[in-house]
Symmetry: C2
């Protein structure tokens, strides 16, 4: 069994969406003073690797604790779109082997950026035509290698198309070290209750 970590490391200088940093580590107890070390962690619900629930965009919609965990655990395909600049369009996906129910992780040139680089407002993103194509294919989950999956869409069309079709969205993956092939994907969000998203740890398991 091989485990590949595809999570974004979380530290105070971790890249944040539009550079709105939220991660704070506070020391609560130290070994010198208390005989034990304990910390307090603060982070945005969309920090690093995270899963968006429909409540991120839709009032009173499903929160992250209401999504069954089998929505984030299962066989997956990593596809290589590192040659695409700017927007990923539907036509960039046509030649890929994508089937109904697939968990699709898209590796782009975003994964070449450092995990603590300033926010790149020109990140590669998934445009509405590509989202619509994936909705038609009826995939189960999309994983993306930046802190957002869309930009330049004031009405959040990519998110809305995917969420309306009940396709789970995992953002903030790190795929630069991952070959484009099939794996077993496990992405576990923190067990927070009632929030619109949760930070998560994501791995690929090979040789199961």
């Amino acid at each position: 069994m091989e485990i590949i970590d595809i999570s974004w490391p979380l530290r105070p200088d971790t890249t944040a969406y539009k550079d709105h940093k939220t991660i704070i580590f506070t020391t609560k107890k130290t070994i010198d003073s208390d005989g034990v070390r304990e910390s307090i962690l603060t982070c945005g619900s969309h920090s690093g690797t995270h899963i968006d629930a429909p409540a991120h965009f839709i009032k009173d919609a499903e929160t992250i604790d209401q999504a069954p965990l089998d929505r984030f655990v299962g066989p997956c395909k990593v596809v290589d779109l590192t040659h695409v600049q700017g927007a990923i369009h539907a036509h960039d996906l046509y030649d890929l082997d994508i089937e109904e129910g697939d968990f699709l992780l898209i590796k782009t040139s975003n994964s070449t950026l450092s995990a603590t680089a300033p926010f790149n407002k020109d990140f590669v993103y998934l445009n509405a035509s590509a989202a619509q194509y994936l909705v038609e294919l009826d995939i189960g989950l999309i994983g993306f290698d930046y802190l957002g999956i869309e930009r330049q869409q004031p009405d959040h069309q990519t998110h809305r198309l995917l969420m309306d079709a009940d396709i789970m969205i995992v953002e903030g993956l790190r795929l630069g070290h991952v070959a484009a092939k099939s794996y077993f994907f496990v992405c576990l969000p923190l067990a927070v209750v009632g929030l619109e998203a949760a930070p998560a740890r994501a791995i690929l398991v090979g040789g199961l």
Copy 2:
């Protein structure tokens, strides 16, 4: 494939060790004001389900990000010790089928407590004789169903015995709904860098 969530739900009123509550959810953006909902999460590194790294008790020791993830992912055995009151001693473990390298999850009467009950200072715990016995058996990981694995040991003997033997410690599991048998265990800590522990999500997978 069946997924059983064995994580402690995280909310502001979640039971905290010695009732020192640390979990805070803050609203950062709302759909009404901002068109999108975003939250900030604060929690102790030992809130709910979490993994302790050696740096919890030993200065400059390994932090949670330095532990390879295969230490928390693999076949496991859930054993039922719900009949034990107070301390679990070595002799309570003698009749169990425990082997070298095992990931051992101990289900106790702690799992009958509500996830938001006041802290129970009389929780069932693992005493030093039991820890020493598991060290001799050379297990790989111990999972326990309360926010601590020991009490009434000012020198943290249970933790130190297990940590010195490189046995991983997962605390804050919820096992009341789980039958005592073999499963595939996946426990993924948040990818925090440099901390002595991390909150984690833990599942059992059956039928893999």
